[in-house]
Amino acid sequence: MTSLRRASAGAVALLAMIMFSLHVSQIDLARLVAGIPKITDFLSALTPPLRLSTLWTDMAEWYWGWAKWLQLLWTTLNMALFGTAIGTLLGGLLSFVASRNLGTPAPVVFTVRRILEIARTVPDLVWALVFLFAFGLGPLAGVLAIAIHTLGAQGKLFAEANENIDKHPIEGVRSCGGSWFDEIAIGVVPQVLPNYVSYALWRFEINVRSATIIGFVGAGGIGMELYDSLSLNYYDDAGAILLIVLVTVMLIDLVSEWTRSRIAGTAAAKH
């Protein structure tokens, strides 16, 4: 009886939420359904006619701009790489003063944690818009936006990893007269390093995706070209770039997943 009542209360809440959402977004079912064929038409417009008999020349024609696109993709990947590296490095350093168990005064821990929170809660695209004002169009704004967002995310994850360590090595270093830096370098880092590497790779995957879209606002990379080609109605080009992005993202995911599972494997084997 109670489960029935609970289920009907859930159904009423769901229905109310649906009605509210449809009202706010000014959408009815007819518009929703009418949108679907428009999308399928558009998606098919993104690919030029490819005939099997002339597939090679058709593809070559479709990818006429491959040299430029690959160069932009290269920039995008480098943005992701540098943003991940610098964000992870700074986030890692800040994580030691954001951990409660490493002797940092509580007010400092609190402040650093709030800073990390702001850095990761504001989406990287919004950071990019702020940086565009300061640094102008181009990859610099994008890479800084990725770095700031990464710093916030890694700082939090690393601090959590730091707080879950075995504290005996720290006590050991301290009892031998080691400084705070020795405690971190010898007592903490070796314990959490596999975690750090795994998080960094995972973040790189995320940042490759971010780097492809950060160009939409003018912050460099292949996203800028995709945005422009859609704005200028060069649908074939947009389709070609979308395919490049999709393949790249999938490849990076595969490689990173494989590497992470190997790291997890060696870390598990050690224990």
């Binding site: 649906i18 929703l32 949108g35 558009f42 790489l81 540098f82 702020v130 300061a134």
Partner: protein
């Protein structure tokens, strides 16, 4: 300590040299590590150069950045609050409808991606690749494409969220289905149930709490994503935010960001309360 002789000191010295040799790495490893660090820095330096970090632009822009951040410390534009709140409601609605649509369509695809419900390997492989492709591209890319296809407004955002969700949720649902205990399925089959019966009676009751829980989690995550979809014109608060930032109204942008963070926080709390209840219900059943 008085009877310490010179030979004792020498002996001590030898011992510590042996100890040092035992704890330091051999020369070959040290060389390899040094080479790895060197190439690592080389690659990073190259990436920095490509990303325009090393040009003078970084230093030249810092004062402007400091000015912008200082302006963001003082939220402004409270007279636009009704407009901002309406746009936020649109964002929440977009995330909700997108998740609902995505979850509804993900269920049939999940049945085609799971080993338990579709034992034909080749077909299952094909459907899994479809699922991979859908979640391969970011919400914002789909939103940009859909804005061109169906025009500005929340509908493009709803479709973008739904499409990525079909990919993500079909994968998660399929995993839940494959992890369900097979005994119940066999029981339904043995008593003469159809394929549909074996799913709805044998699998669904086992996996429903888990599926609802991951769907709520996606709702939470989609609310975050939906806040920026407006930047490309797909409805919601992102449009206002990008608009204010493009005309350098940093105070107003700051107010919008605070509103976004508050909303995301509320949805997170709601969703995690609901998920905790679901898990509680599941726990009490066992």
């Amino acid at each position: 300590m008085a009877d310490t002789t010179a030979s004792d000191w020498v002996e001590e010295d030898r011992r510590s040299a042996r100890l040092l040799a035992a704890i330091t790495r051999p020369a070959g490893t040290r060389l390899r590590n040094a080479a790895a660090w060197f190439f690592g820095f080389l690659i990073l330096g190259y990436a920095a150069w490509i990303s325009d970090i090393l040009s003078g632009k970084l230093l030249a822009g810092l004062p402007k950045l400091a000015g912008a951040l200082a302006m963001m410390l003082v939220p402004a534009g409270f007279e636009h609050l009704p407009e901002f709140l309406w746009a936020l409601a649109e964002t929440v609605a977009m995330a909700f409808l997108g998740t609902l649509l995505g979850a509804t369509l993900a269920l049939p695809l999940a049945l085609l991606c799971a080993r338990t419900t579709l034992p034909i390997r080749v077909l299952q492989f094909g459907f899994r690749r479809i699922s991979d492709t859908l979640r391969g591209l970011d919400h914002l890319i789909w939103a940009l494409v859909f804005v061109r296809a169906i025009g500005l407004g929340p509908l493009a955002g709803i479709f973008a969220i739904a499409l990525v969700d079909i990919g993500t949720l079909s994968k998660l649902y399929a995993e839940a289905i494959d992890n369900a205990k097979k005994g119940a399925v066999e029981g339904v089959r043995a008593s003469g149930g159809t394929w549909l019966d074996s799913f709805s009676l044998g699998i669904l009751p086992q996996v429903l709490p888990n599926m609802l829980s991951v769907t709520l989690y996606m709702w939470e995550s989609n609310t975050r994503s939906a806040t920026i979809l407006g930047i490309v014109g797909a409805g919601g608060i992102g449009y206002q935010l990008a608009d204010r930032l493009r005309v350098y109204e940093f105070g107003q942008a700051s107010l919008i960001i605070i509103l976004i963070i508050g909303t995301v926080y509320l949805i997170d709390m709601l969703s995690s309360t609901l998920r905790a209840r679901l898990i509680g219900m599941q726990g009490s059943k066992h």
